[in-house]
């Protein structure tokens, strides 16, 4: 479990996070949602250590990440896998080399073991046989899947996905969502997904955190997000008339299902 306790973060005079606390549970897909500019990405970057919070603490299974430095911090980072918004694949390396990269840098595995692991990860994301392609030769959806394969190569305990569906068509988005859920449940990892995609939230969100004005405004699961009366979250999730109709349909469906 990852616990964020009373995080504050400013950039100059602009405070982005205000005394924010949150819990990301193990074996679940934890979703961070919110409008642009509300602090979702800053929160995620603070949690993985790319930004230093001004105050507060971040606990990885009770290990205080914010108090660690150098090698001790790097040890926790080795347990983190991250899928970036633009995939962040190394463009001079092939697909296989990208996946083997963390293994070659951080483990003592032999070349054969690394190759086996890379093939296993590629198989997990349904990209078997694409080993020798360069990232530039892959589509956006493939790049995301390669990013996931690289993120899980080190058998991470924590997986972060920054807008995994951005720029993808709805069908490919569903493939990526299912992949994230499958990996989370199969390996029992703590997954944190930052997204705008409400379809993903309803589809795979086990624990949803709504960030508004740099604060943890609302917490719940995919069922409670449909029924909540919280004004800010309703304004965000059901922004269009179409989504408002969907909400009333879903609500009536849930009423009929309840005994």
């Amino acid at each position: 479990m990852i616990e964020v306790k009373n995080i504050n973060k400013s950039f100059g005079s602009n405070q982005v996070l205000f005394d924010l606390s949150a819990k990301f549970e193990t074996g679940k897909v934890n979703m961070i949602i919110g409008q642009s500019g509300q602090g979702k990405s800053v929160l995620a970057k603070c949690v993985v250590g790319l930004h230093e919070p001004d105050s507060g603490s971040i606990l990885y299974d009770e290990r205080n990440f914010t108090q660690l430095e150098g090698d001790a911090r790097r040890e926790i980072r080795k347990e983190i896998g991250m899928l970036f918004q633009g995939s962040a694949l190394f463009d001079s390396m092939t697909v296989e080399e990208n996946i083997m990269f963390p293994l070659s840098m951080l483990t003592k595995m032999t070349k054969k073991e690394m190759l086996d692991r890379a093939n296993f990860c590629l198989d997990k994301v349904n990209l078997s046989g694409k080993n020798k392609l360069l990232p530039a030769e892959c589509s956006g959806g493939m790049q995301k899947r390669i990013g996931i394969a690289r993120a899980i190569a080190m058998k991470p305990k924590y997986l972060f996905c920054d807008e995994p569906n951005s720029g993808l068509d709805p069908k490919t988005s569903i493939v990526i969502d299912n992949l994230i859920r499958e990996i989370t449940y199969e390996f029992g990892i703590t997954t944190v997904v930052i997204t705008h995609d409400m379809n993903s939230v309803i589809e795979i969100g086990d624990n949803i955190i709504f960030i508004h004005q740099g604060q943890n405004w609302w917490n719940g699961d995919k069922n409670s997000i449909i029924t909540t009366e919280n004004k800010e979250i309703n304004d965000f999730v059901y922004a269009s008339e179409f989504m408002k109709d969907i909400k009333s349909l879903l609500k009536s469906k849930m009423k009929t299902l309840r005994p």
Binding site: G49, R77, I80, M105, F160
Partner: protein
């Protein structure tokens, strides 16, 4: 602060060696054609200009060889060539690292627990510092050959006189001075360019801006270092 992190122990020596060889190829070996071309022509021009300006009858003809050698060793090969290479190598390094920054590849390295500064910058610094002296010696040799070719083909001097001039008043320390300068300038070019690349913020436009700044600042720092090194070593 940045250099303190750059000079940390690499995660894997095997990968560091591989990257070092790759950087020597990119920074050094691939610069050899342009270095060769520039050196040949600059040597030729120095020799021709010296010959053309030798109007006084009390100046011996071998002065052409002497001046060509001295200006090549003392200034042209280590300083002017470094300024030119600051443009080629500096912009390359700043745009490579800058692109990695804006496409989150550096963030990816950091979240993996890899020291991105050591991984990216250290092999470049070591590679340049090791290869620049070789490149400068190569340049000195070719400049002298360029001067000889120009003089012979134009009939302004002959081989014996030119070689006599090259060997006259030769001070071995001048070579040491040139090598020291080349090492310092190599370090300046790579560290300044890496700094501007690493701290790029924004998008493609900002990568271009970092690249330009890297070249300008490296060139200015080279000129300042050249002044102080000359004062310290030659005077």
């Amino acid at each position: 602060m940045m250099l303190h992190i750059v000079f940390s122990r690499p995660e894997k020596w095997k990968i560091f060696r591989k990257r070092l060889l790759n950087e020597i190829e990119v920074i050094g070996v691939k610069s050899l054609p342009i270095v060769a071309l520039l050196s040949l022509f600059m040597g030729a021009v120095i020799a021709l200009q010296t010959a053309a300006n030798m109007t006084s009858p009390i100046l011996p003809e071998y002065t052409i060889g002497y001046i060509t050698r001295s200006s090549t060793i003392l200034e042209f090969s280590p300083t002017i060539l470094s300024l030119i290479l600051a443009g080629k190598i500096g912009s390359n390094i700043a745009s490579e690292i800058g692109t990695m920054r804006v496409t989150e590849q550096i963030d990816a390295l950091e979240t993996m627990g890899i020291n991105s500064l050591t991984y990216l910058v250290l092999p470049k610094i070591i590679g340049a510092v090791l290869f620049f002296p070789i490149m400068i010696i190569f340049s000195i040799g070719l400049s002298i050959v360029g001067g000889w070719l120009a003089l012979i083909s134009s009939g302004l001097s002959n081989t014996e006189t030119y070689v006599f001039g090259l060997r006259s008043f030769f001070v071995l320390g001048d070579i040491g001075y040139a090598l020291i300068k080349s090492v310092v300038f190599a370090f300046v070019i790579v560290s300044v360019s890496s700094f501007y690349g690493y701290y790029t913020k924004g998008g493609a436009l900002d990568v271009g801006r970092s690249s330009t700044q890297a070249v300008v600042i490296s060139s200015v720092v080279i000129l300042i270092c050249n002044f102080f090194l000359t004062q310290m070593i030659l005077l």
